[in-house]
C-alpha cells in the first residue's frame, strides 16, 4: 500500500514486511496488478456477471440507505395502518381507487407559521431529537399559530391519531395554553385538544388524541358511538391542522414552550410501498432493514468460512502426510452431518442470538472451501517457483504465506462470493422456522410472521412475495457473480 521505500534499519524492514506480506508479493510481481485489471475487463464483458453485480448493488444500496429510506423502526412502530393494509400504489387499480390511504405527517420544521405575535422561534435539541423553542419576547399576551395542510382524496377513514410532545416553562407569573385545531375541507373547525392553562412548569409530556375517544366525541357534539374520523373527514379536498400557542408573559415574566415533533396519522387500508403486517407495522421498513441484516450475515459468514477454509486448505495441501489426512477426515465428517438439523439443535441449546447464528452457520460451511483450496495447493506445491523457494531455504510458513496464498486468492474470492447466498438462505430458513433472533428484522422473520399471523388466509401476497423473491434474486445474483469469476479464473489457469 505505502511506497516500497528503501529500508534504513533491519527493524523497520521487519515491521514493514510482516503485516503487508501479500501486498509486497503483489508489488514484487508487476504482472499481478495487471491481472486484476484484466479480470475486471473480462468480467465486464459477461452480461450475466454484470447483471449479478447490478442486482447486488441495488440491494447493497437498500441495505445501506435503510434509515433514510423509511422513517419507521421496523420492529417498534406498529399500528401505522390498518391490519394487513395493502401497498399504497394499489390505489392505481380501480378496485382500490377510493380505499383510504395512510396519512402520516411528522410536523416540526415543516410547520408553517401563520401568526407570530410577540414570540421568537429558536431550535434546540432534546435527547438528540430536534425541538422547537418558542419564547415570548416582551411583556403582555403572545400568540403563535402553526399550520399544516394535507390533501385527502380517499373514502372516509375509521380512525385518526394526533400526538403532540411539548413542555412549558413560565417564569415571573407567565401563563400559557395550547390548542390543536382541525379544519375540514368544507371549512368546519374543531378543537381536538385544548390544554389547561399552564402556570410555572409543565414537564415534557406527549399529548395524544384518539378519534375513538368518547369524551372527545361528546365534547365536539357527536354521539358517543359516532365514527368521528368518518364524520370529520367526509369530503375530498384540503384539510388543515392548526396548532395554536398562546401565552401571557405578564409584566416581567417570560414563557417558553418546547415543542417536539408532532404527528398526525390516519391509518389507511393502503399503506406505504409494501403495505402493513398484522399489527399495522410498515413492511417496507422491515424489508429494507431485512436487506441490511441479510447482507451483513451473508458477508460475515462467508468471510469466516473462507478464512477458515483457506487456512485449513493450504495447511492440509502443503504440509500433507498425517496433517492432511486428519484435516480431510474432519472435513469429511463435518460435511456428512445434516446441516439444518444440527443448526436447529445448536441454536436451541445456545440461544437465538444473531451472532450465534452467524458463527454456527460459518462453522458448518467452510469445508467446501477447504477442499477447493487444498486441491489447488496440491498442484501449486509441485510448481517450479515453490520448489525454488524451498531450495533457497524458505520455511514452510513463509512459502505458504507468500507463494501459495497469493495464488489461491482468486479461487478464494470466487468461493467467498459463492458462499454468501447459502449463508443468507440458511439464516432465512432458520428464522422462518422460528429460530431467528427476535430482536433483529430479517426476511426470514417476515415470512415466519406472515405464516403465523394469517397472511395466507388473507392472501396477503404483498407480505409474502417481497422477502421471498428478494432472497431468490439476491441468491441468484451472487451465483451469477461467483460463476463468472470462477469461469474467468478457470480460463486463465488453463491458458497459463
Amino acid at each position: 500500500m505505502n511506497n516500497p521505500q528503501t529500508s534504513t534499519t533491519g527493524a523497520s524492514q521487519a515491521v514493514s514486511v510482516t503485516p503487508a506480506a501479500s501486498a509486497v508479493a503483489v508489488k514484487a510481481k508487476p504482472r499481478r496488478r495487471g491481472a486484476l485489471r484484466e479480470i475486471w475487463a473480462e468480467y465486464r464483458r459477461s452480461p450475466q456477471g454484470m447483471l449479478g453485480l447490478f442486482i447486488f448493488m441495488v440491494f447493497l444500496f437498500l441495505g445501506l440507505a435503510a434509515p433514510w429510506l423509511t422513517p419507521y423502526d421496523p420492529l417498534q412502530d406498529q399500528f401505522l395502518a390498518e391490519r394487513m393494509a395493502r401497498p399504497g400504489w394499489m390505489s392505481y387499480f380501480p378496485a382500490y381507487r377510493n380505499a383510504p390511504v395512510t396519512v402520516d405527517r411528522f410536523l416540526l420544521r415543516n410547520w408553517e407559521v401563520t401568526t407570530a405575535d410577540n414570540v421568537e422561534i429558536t431550535w434546540g435539541e432534546r435527547q438528540d431529537e430536534p425541538v422547537m423553542l418558542v419564547r415570548t419576547t416582551g411583556p403582555g399576551p403572545a400568540r403563535l399559530v402553526l399550520e399544516s395542510t394535507f390533501d385527502y382524496h380517499s373514502s372516509s377513514p375509521d380512525t385518526f391519531f394526533i400526538q403532540i410532545p411539548y413542555a412549558f416553562v413560565g417564569e415571573g407569573g407567565a401563563t400559557g395554553q395550547m390548542v390543536f385545531r382541525f379544519v375540514t375541507a368544507d371549512g368546519r373547525s374543531y378543537d381536538m385538544w385544548t390544554s389547561r392553562t399552564f402556570r410555572n412548569e409543565v414537564r415534557w409530556t406527549t399529548q395524544r388524541v384518539d378519534s375513538r375517544d368518547m369524551q372527545l366525541k361528546m365534547r365536539l357534539g357527536f354521539r358517543p358511538l359516532a365514527n368521528l374520523a368518518a364524520d370529520l373527514i367526509n369530503a375530498q379536498g384540503e384539510y388543515r391542522l392548526i396548532l395554536e400557542l398562546t401565552a401571557n408573559a405578564g409584566e416581567t415574566g417570560t414563557a417558553l414552550f418546547t415543542l417536539g415533533e408532532s404527528r398526525f396519522r390516519i391509518p389507511g387500508q393502503l399503506h406505504g410501498l409494501l403495505g402493513a403486517d398484522h399489527l399495522g407495522a410498515d413492511l417496507w421498513s422491515q424489508f429494507v432493514y431485512g436487506t441490511r441484516t441479510s447482507l451483513m450475515i451473508g458477508f460475515v459468514v462467508a468471510l469466516i468460512a473462507v478464512v477458515v477454509g483457506t487456512l485449513v486448505g493450504i495447511v492440509s495441501g502443503y504440509v500433507g502426510r498425517w496433517v492432511d489426512e486428519l484435516l480431510m477426515r474432519i472435513v469429511d465428517v463435518l460435511i456428512s452431518i445434516p446441516f439444518l438439523p444440527i443448526l436447529i439443535v445448536f441454536v436451541a441449546v445456545l440461544g437465538k442470538s444473531i451472532w450465534n447464528l452467524i458463527i454456527l452457520i460459518a462453522l458448518f460451511s467452510w469445508m467446501s472451501v477447504a477442499r477447493l483450496v487444498r486441491s489447488q495447493t496440491l498442484t501449486l506445491r509441485e510448481r517450479a517457483f515453490v520448489e525454488a523457494a524451498r531450495a533457497a531455504g524458505a520455511s514452510s510458513g513463509y512459502i505458504m504465506r507468500t507463494h501459495i496464498l497469493p495464488n489461491v486468492l482468486g479461487l478464494v474470492f470466487a468461493s467467498l462470493v459463492l458462499q454468501v447466498p447459502g449463508a443468507i438462505v440458511s439464516e432465512a430458513t432458520l428464522s422462518f422456522l422460528g429460530f431467528g433472533d427476535p430482536r433483529v428484522p430479517t426476511w426470514g422473520r417476515m415470512l415466519q410472521n406472515a405464516k403465523s399471523f394469517g397472511a395466507f388466509g388473507e392472501l396477503a401476497w404483498w407480505w409474502i412475495l417481497p422477502p421471498g423473491l428478494a432472497l431468490t434474486i439476491l441468491a441468484m445474483a451472487f451465483v451469477f457473480m461467483g460463476n463468472t469469476i470462477d469461469d474467468i479464473l478457470n480460463r486463465r489457469n488453463r491458458e497459463e
Partner: protein, 321 residues
C-alpha cells in the same frame, strides 16, 4: 484389493457416526443449568423420575453417563418425551413412514425429471427451449426451499383451494381402503411438489453440463461415425460416461433433501420426523430433539455410505486407487 475400499468407507462412516453421537451428547451437556433437568421433566411423578434417573445414570459421573448414553442410543432408546410422556422411539416410528414417503417420492421424481430433462436439453443446447428450461431451473434452484413451499401453499392451498393446506390426512379420516389411499395422495401432492421443485434443479444442471461435456468427446464422435442413431449415441455412450459423477450427486443432494423435509413438513404441518424435530426444539422437548437428530443423521450417513459403495461399483477406478 477392491474389498479394502468398501471397508475403509465403512470405517469412515462409523467414525462419523461416533462423532455425531458424541456431539449429540455434548451439546445437551454444555447447556447452562442442571443437566438432570434436561432429561427429567419437572412434571414427572417421583417414581418415574427415580426410574429414569437410574436408567440414565444421572447420579453417576459424566463418563459413565456417556457410556450409558452410547448404549441407549445404539439401542434406539432415547427416553421419554416431556410433552407426551411416550417413549421417543414409538413417536418417531409413528412419524417415520410419512417422512420416508415424502422423501422417497420426491427423490425419485428429482432424479427422473432432472436426469431425463438434463439429457434431452443437452442435445438441444442453445435452443430457445433449452435456455428457458435452464433459466427456470436456475431460478428454482436459487429459491429457498421454504419459499417454494410457501408459494405452492399460497397458490394451490389458499388462492385456488385445490389441495389441503395441512396434515397428512383428512379429519376425520375416511374408512375404506381406496378413499384412504386417495386421501393420503391428495395430502402428499403439494409437499412432494415443493421438495421436487427445489431439488430437481441441481440434478438437471449437473446432468446437462456433464452430458454436454461428454458429447464433445472423441468417443462420441466415433460412435456417431459408426452410424449409430442419436438415441444410441446418447444413452449408450455419452450418458454412460457421466453416470459416475451423477451417482456422487446422490451424496451431494441428500443434505438438501433432508433440509427440504424439515422445512416442507413444517410448512404443510405434516406428521413427520422433520417437523417433530422443529416442534420439539421449540418446545424444548430435549429427549425428542436428541432422538430426531440421531435418526436423521443416521439416515444421511447410511445414504452417504450407500452412495460411496455404489460409486465404487459404477466407477472401477475408484476401487483400485
Amino acid at each position: 484389493m477392491s474389498g479394502a475400499y468398501y471397508w475403509r468407507r465403512l470405517g469412515y462412516a462409523l467414525i462419523t457416526l461416533f462423532v455425531i453421537m458424541t456431539l449429540n451428547f455434548i451439546i445437551f451437556r454444555i447447556m447452562p443449568g442442571d443437566p438432570v433437568s434436561l432429561v427429567l421433566s419437572p412434571e414427572f411423578t417421583p417414581e418415574v423420575r427415580q426410574m429414569l434417573r437410574e436408567m440414565y445414570g444421572l447420579d453417576q459421573p459424566l463418563w459413565t453417563q456417556y457410556l450409558l448414553y452410547m448404549k441407549n442410543t445404539l439401542a434406539f432408546d432415547f427416553g421419554r418425551s416431556f410433552v407426551t410422556r411416550q417413549p421417543v422411539l414409538r413417536e418417531l416410528l409413528a412419524r417415520l413412514p410419512n417422512t420416508l414417503m415424502l422423501l422417497g417420492t420426491a427423490f425419485v421424481l428429482n432424479v427422473v425429471v432432472g436426469v431425463v430433462l438434463g439429457i434431452k436439453m443437452a442435445t438441444r443446447q442453445g435452443s430457445r427451449l433449452e435456455t428457458g428450461v435452464t433459466g427456470v431451473s436456475l431460478f428454482l434452484n436459487a429459491m429457498p426451499s421454504f419459499f417454494v413451499g410457501l408459494l405452492l401453499l399460497l397458490t394451490f392451498g389458499y388462492y385456488w383451494p385445490i389441495f389441503p393446506i395441512r396434515g397428512t390426512m383428512s379429519v376425520p379420516p375416511p374408512t375404506e381402503f381406496w378413499p384412504i389411499i386417495f386421501d393420503r395422495i391428495h395430502h402428499m401432492i403439494l409437499p412432494v411438489t415443493a421438495v421436487s421443485l427445489s431439488g430437481y434443479g441441481s440434478w438437471y444442471l449437473y446432468t446437462r453440463n456433464n452430458v454436454i461435456g461428454a458429447l464433445g468427446q472423441d468417443y462420441v464422435l466415433t460412435a456417431r461415425a459408426k452410424g449409430l442413431t442419436q438415441r444410441e449415441v446418447l444413452y449408450r455412450h455419452a450418458f454412460r460416461s457421466v453416470l459416475p459423477p451423477i451417482v456422487t450427486l446422490v451424496f451431494l443432494s441428500l443434505p438438501g433433501l433432508i433440509t427440504g423435509a424439515v422445512i416442507t413438513e413444517s410448512i404443510f404441518s405434516l406428521y413427520g420426523v422433520g417437523r417433530y424435530l422443529v416442534d420439539a426444539t421449540l418446545q424444548q422437548d430435549y429427549p425428542v430433539v436428541q432422538g430426531c437428530f440421531f435418526v436423521i443423521a443416521l439416515a444421511v450417513l447410511a445414504c452417504n455410505l450407500l452412495a460411496d459403495l455404489v460409486y465404487g461399483l459404477v466407477d472401477p477406478r475408484i476401487r483400485l486407487r
